[in-house]
Every structure is written in C-alpha cells, then in structure tokens.
C-alpha cells in the first residue's frame, strides 16, 4: 500500500520552486546596457499625466525605448517600498527638492556623471536657480522637469468688470476687494486644503506673504534653518494670512476649507455652480480648471490670473515658484537617455504644447505655449525680478509635510499660534541638525 506522500511533497516542491525563482541582481558600478524598457514614476494624474505621456511617446518614437508611466498619490511611501523591495523605477519625477536631497544622500539616486551624462552641458539649458534644485553637495542628480509659478491669484475678469474692481497692486487693495465682495454678499475666497495631500496650498499662501512682508533674505534663512519658525516675522506673516484666510472671507469657513481638496477648491470658484470669487494657487490652476473642472470657461472673461500684489514696497515682488526634478534610480543606458531627453528644449516644447505646464528650459519660447494663461505664467517666470523656490518643498525630511499640517492647525486656531510654532521649531531644529 502506497503512502500518499505526494501532497506534502508537492507543496514543498512548489515552495522550493518559488524560492528558486531568481530576481535580478543589482548592477555593479558603471552604466549597464538598458533592456529597452523603462518605468517612469511620479504622482501626477489627470491632465498632467496626459501631457507628460505625450513627451514619453515622442521619446519612444525617437529611441525605440518603451516606457511605462506609473503614478501614486503617496509618492514617498511607494518609492520607499519599491526601494526596500529592490524594485525601484528607472526614472522618477520627484516633486520636492528636499526629497531629492534625502534620496541622494541615501545613495538611492544616480548622479548625472555616473549615468554617463555631462552635467555642465545639460545645465546650459537652465538658469542657475533651477539647476541648484537638482544639485546636492555639488553633484548634479537630475534635471528640472517642469516649473510653475505660485505667485498667481485667479479671478473672474467678468466679475471684476461688473464691480469695477482694478487688478490690485498692493495688499491693501486686495484686502479692499475682499471686503467689497463680502459686503455684496459674495464669498471672496475659496480654499481647498484637506488632509495630507492638500495642505501645501496653505504653505503657498504663507510663502507668498512672508517673502513680501519679511523679505527675501529672511525667507531664505527661514527655510534653510537659520531663522527660527517662532520668530516674530513668522507670526506677523501668519497674522496677515489669517486676516484673509478665516471663517469670514473663505467660502464655507475654515472647516469647509480643511474638508475639501484643492481641485474642489478650484471648483468652488470656477465650476458651473460657483460659490466664491477668487482662488490663490499656482499657474497650474488654469490647466486644471480648463481641463477638468469646467471646460466651458473662456480665458480672459471667466478665468484669468494676476500676480501677487506687493505687501511691503521695500521687498518688491519676488516670485515664489515650484518645480519637479527628474532623477534616475537605476544606472542603465535607457534611464540615461530619458534624463538627457527631458533636458532638451524639444521635450520642453512638446510638454508645454499641451497647455498643462510651464517649462524652465531656456530653449522654450513664448510662442511655444498654446494658450494665453500658460504663456503668461511662463512670462512671469522669465521676467521675475527675483525668484524664490517654494520653501516648504526645500525643507528636509518630513518638515515640509509637517509645515502644511502646522498651517492647517493655525488657520483653524490662530490663538494657538505660539505653542504650535514652538513645537514646530523644536522639530525643525532636530531635522536640520540631522541633515548636517
């Protein structure tokens, strides 16, 4: 009589087979030959993703290398699990320079030199402000993929005309418009700052105010760790901010603001059933408003933007802007080619032709932009008298994310400002110390 041992043996065999399935080994130094296939990872979806896909398609057409675009809303956790599992994407577009620095210091990124590219040649395409974003400890780790201005305020030209409002050049004028709208029974502002994914909208408010109120030097010091977050200048800026971002002037009050996402916030002003008049956010609002929120908007009538007004004349009108950095995680020739391609004016032109972004590439000119809104933004970027990078994106580690959370708490409870700032400063000191 045979003992039926086949069942357990079969199971053991299956397990053995599974264990035997070999994964790839990571390449040693030097650029490997690519396999004609590459994964690009970022957090864009929607219209931004479609625009980028066009760039990738052209790349494939030119080089024959197939690309696959992946996106996830939790950029960092997904990157970390991929790295921990040994499965990083070949190229990723990183939304924050602070993150670029961290990944570079962990040896997760491949520098341009190691990829076999010439950093100096690539950086000819950009001005210094931009290249510094992709540079960590004097080594260049990527190229700036797209740029946007955050110093834009979106409004409805029709409404301004009806009310005889002029484009405000100073903060006081903006406040006056705010009050006038309110007096008429309209909600002057909409804000969408819900949860972790949207708190950055509040940081943009703060940065624009702080740069104009406290000046560029203080701005740079603040986000470098050389000025404390509980400094009086910060408190003054926060007071200015909450004089507008409060229950009185924001549609639905702060509770609603903290309960909706930034796309919904745009919708509050520009959808077919608007409840507010003005929206503060970056140049990309145009693309999203036209592409997703309300396709019937007419540029120049229903939607347009004006640049942030001055607060303190001495501090002028610095432009606060953001950008994404494309970096390689795997040292193979496919990744190198893509990075190289993304830095070319040609890639920039294709990308901006979709109307979704503005490009920091010097080779892209105003005529390459398909619509007025984006070319206006690009113009603003080019002609800015001074440029400041989005501060919260520069902060190391989790400080950037925490800054958004901090602002959420402050707009909800301005009276708690001092305690909240003290706590944040304590955390900031640690994070900056760890960095050095």
């Amino acid at each position: 009589m045979t003992r039926k041992r086949w069942l357990p043996i079969a199971v053991l065999a299956a397990v053995a087979l599974a264990l035997g399935a070999c994964g790839g080994d990571d390449g040693g130094g030097g650029t490997k030959e690519g396999d004609g296939q590459l994964t690009v990872f970022s957090l864009w979806g929607g219209s931004e993703q479609e625009a980028f896909q066009k760039v990738l398609d052209k790349f494939t057409a030119d080089t024959g290398i197939k690309t696959k675009y992946e996106s996830a809303r939790d950029f960092l956790p997904v990157i970390r699990t991929k790295l921990a599992a040994g499965n990083p994407p070949e190229v990723a577009i990183i939304p924050r320079p602070g993150v670029v620095a961290e990944l570079a210091r962990d040896d997760s990124l491949i520098s341009l030199e190691d990829l076999g590219l010439d950093p100096d040649k690539i950086n000819e395409n950009y001005s210094d402000t931009w290249t510094s974003l992709a540079t960590v400890d004097d080594t260049v780790y990527g190229v700036v993929a797209k740029a946007n201005s955050k110093s834009t305020i979106w409004y409805k030209p029709n409404s301004f005309q009806q009310n005889n409002f002029q484009i405000p050049k100073t903060w006081d004028e903006l406040m006056q418009i705010t009050k006038d709208y309110k007096a008429k029974g309209d909600s002057p502002w909409a804000v969408g700052a819900q949860g972790r994914d949207n708190s950055w909208t509040l940081t943009d408010w703060f940065e624009n105010i702080y740069a104009r109120q406290a000046g560029q030097d203080n701005y740079t010091k603040l986000f470098n760790g050389d000025l404390a977050f509980n400094d009086q200048s910060v408190k003054d800026a926060l007071n200015t901010m909450t004089s507008v971002v409060n229950d009185q002037y924001v549609a639905g009050g702060i509770d609603t603001a903290l309960g909706i996402g930034f796309v919904d916030g745009i919708g509050r002003v520009f959808s077919k059933h608007p409840v507010a008049e003005m929206y503060m956010e970056g140049g990309f609002v145009g693309g999203i408003a036209l592409g997703q929120v309300n396709k019937d908007l007419k540029v120049g009538q229903d939607i347009d933007f004006f640049p942030w007004p001055q607060i303190n004349q001495a501090n002028g009108n610095p432009l606060v802007g953001g950008g994404d950095v494309a970096s390689a995680f795997v040292n193979d020739s496919d990744a190198a080619k893509l990075i190289d391609y993304l830095a070319t004016p040609e890639a920039g032109k294709i990308w901006v032709s979709t109307g979704a972004i503005a490009s920091p590439n010097k080779g892209v000119t105003a005529s390459d932009y398909p619509n007025e809104l984006v070319s206006k933004e690009a113009e603003q970027l080019k002609t800015a008298e001074s440029f400041l990078f989005d501060g919260s994106d520069l902060l190391p580690g989790t400080l950037g994310q925490d800054f958004g959370t901090l602002l959420q708490k402050i707009v909800k409870n301005p009276n708690n400002m001092n305690t909240l700032l003290d706590d944040y400063q304590a955390g900031a000191e640690k994070a900056f110390a760890q960095q050095d």
Binding site: R80, Q194, R196, D255, T256, L258, G259, K409
Partner: protein, 319 residues
Amino acid sequence: MSSTAVPGPVGRPRGRRLPFYKRENWQALLFIGPAVLVLAGLVLYPLINTIVLSFANTNGRLEITRWVGFDNYKTLFTDDKDFLNLEVFPPEGALINNLKWVVLYTSISLALGLLIAVLSVRVFYESYIKAVIFIPMAISATAVAIIWKFVYDPDPNIGSLNAVISAFGADPISWYGRADVVNYALIFAYVWASTGFAMVVLSAALKGISQEVIEAARTDGASEWDIFRRIQLPLLSLPISVVAVWLLINVIKLFDIIYVMTGGGPGNASEVIAFTMYDETFQNGEAGYGAAVAVVMLLLIVPIMLFNIRRFRSERVVG
C-alpha cells in the same frame, strides 16, 4: 456525531506498536512541516526581526544605520506629540485616539448589536433585518470609508447627513475636516460595519437560552425587563466578552478606514497607532521608529489574547 472525545497525548504504547508510533512522528512532520516552516519563516522570524529593528535607526532605504537602545520608545512616549500629548487637557495623540475607539466603538457596537438581537426576535421579518445589519461585514474597510465619506460630504446635495442637517435649517458640518468631530465620524462609520458581528453572535446566544427558565420567570410575574436583566444578560456574559475581544483587536489594528477616509487628517487629528506605524516607516523612512510602534501594538494586543486563551482553556475544563 456528537462525540466530544478529545484526543490527548496517550501514554507511550509498548511492544509491537512502537514502530507505528515512530512512523507516526514522521507522518506528523510531513503534515505540519509546511505550515510550521511558513509560520516560522514568515511570521516568527519577522516578529523577532522587528523587535530588534525597534532598537535602531534607519535611513530612507530602511536599512539600519545605528543602534539607539530604547531611544525610540522614549521618544515615542515622551517627545512625540502626534502619538501622545499629555500637555493638553483632554490629552491628544494617536494613542489617545485608539483609546476613544476602544471605549466608544466597542460599547456602541455591543449595545446596538444586543439591542437589535433582542428586538428582532420579536418580529416576523427578523431574518431580513439581520441581513441588512450584517451585510456591511462582508465589504472592505476601503468601501466602508468611501460610503461614509459620501455620507459625510460637506455639500448637502451629496452628503446625506448634511442634507438632513440643512433640512433642519442648520449649517452643514465638515465631518472629516474638523479635528473635533472627525474621530467620532470615523468611529460611527466603523460601528455601522461591525455591529452585524455583535448582533449575530448575541442573537445566536440568546436563542440558546433555555425557554423553560424564561417561561417559569414569566409565570412568576417577572417583567420583560427583569427577564432581560436577570436571566438573559448574565448568560450572555461569555458571548459578550467574545465579541468585545474581537472588537478590541480590531481597534488596535485599525488602518484601512483611516487611510482611505482622512489620511490621518485634518493635521494628525484622526491618526491611530497602526497608521502611525505606516507613516513613520514609509513616509518618513524611520523604520526603526515604526518598528517601535509595531511592538507597542503587539504589547497592547497580547493581554487581550491572553484573556481570550484563558477563557478558552477554562471552557475546555468545564465543557
């Protein structure tokens, strides 16, 4: 089919049964081998590994950079305001949130489950009511989060709850945008999903109570309430504790619904410790710190399980 014989270890057989006994050992090995291997390698080993990891710091790639002893634990309990903030009253933090869940989620689910079990027995549509209450048990916490995010939407045209509130003339409430109500909103959503379990267990237990005792009490003039309080409730103490254990373990492991509905927000107001672990490990890259949080989770579950096992054992002795 009602044999309750429990095979236990028998004294060592003698004589010519010895070879069979030895053969049995090999067979046993084959039967439990694969399972034991998998458990040892994929549960036990990581368990130990994580405990060890909790005494270290890691870099962004989750590799250990240096050993820090108990520092992670120290920071967790004394210096991390998102985890435990005793400086304000009432205290705040992820750990405190779990406590809110422990108290509210457990008691409300039990109370509702019991209520429905008791009431539904008396109506002819009992099985339909029970099905309605029980169905949410089958769907994922992700689906529960989305369903309730819909209910809680601040726009009265979408959010059913705010529609009711507006109908009464009040302003809509931003249920998951406000730090003071978000936890209660989440708790009730999960109660909705879990009451079915309490109801089914308690209903089955209720029906197992001998009718004679109840009839006798009734003829003695006892009111329905008396019968409930003095006869049924005490006999339900075992099933109630079973349900309570299940609910408590759920509370410690809570993750999906927080992640999907609020992402821990607004700010950190709705974070719970399982979420903290994920956040610290994968968002912040501090796997050692996250491991410390995981160990805390384990330490919280163990007493609950010990209680369960003791009860299980005492039952074996009795039953």
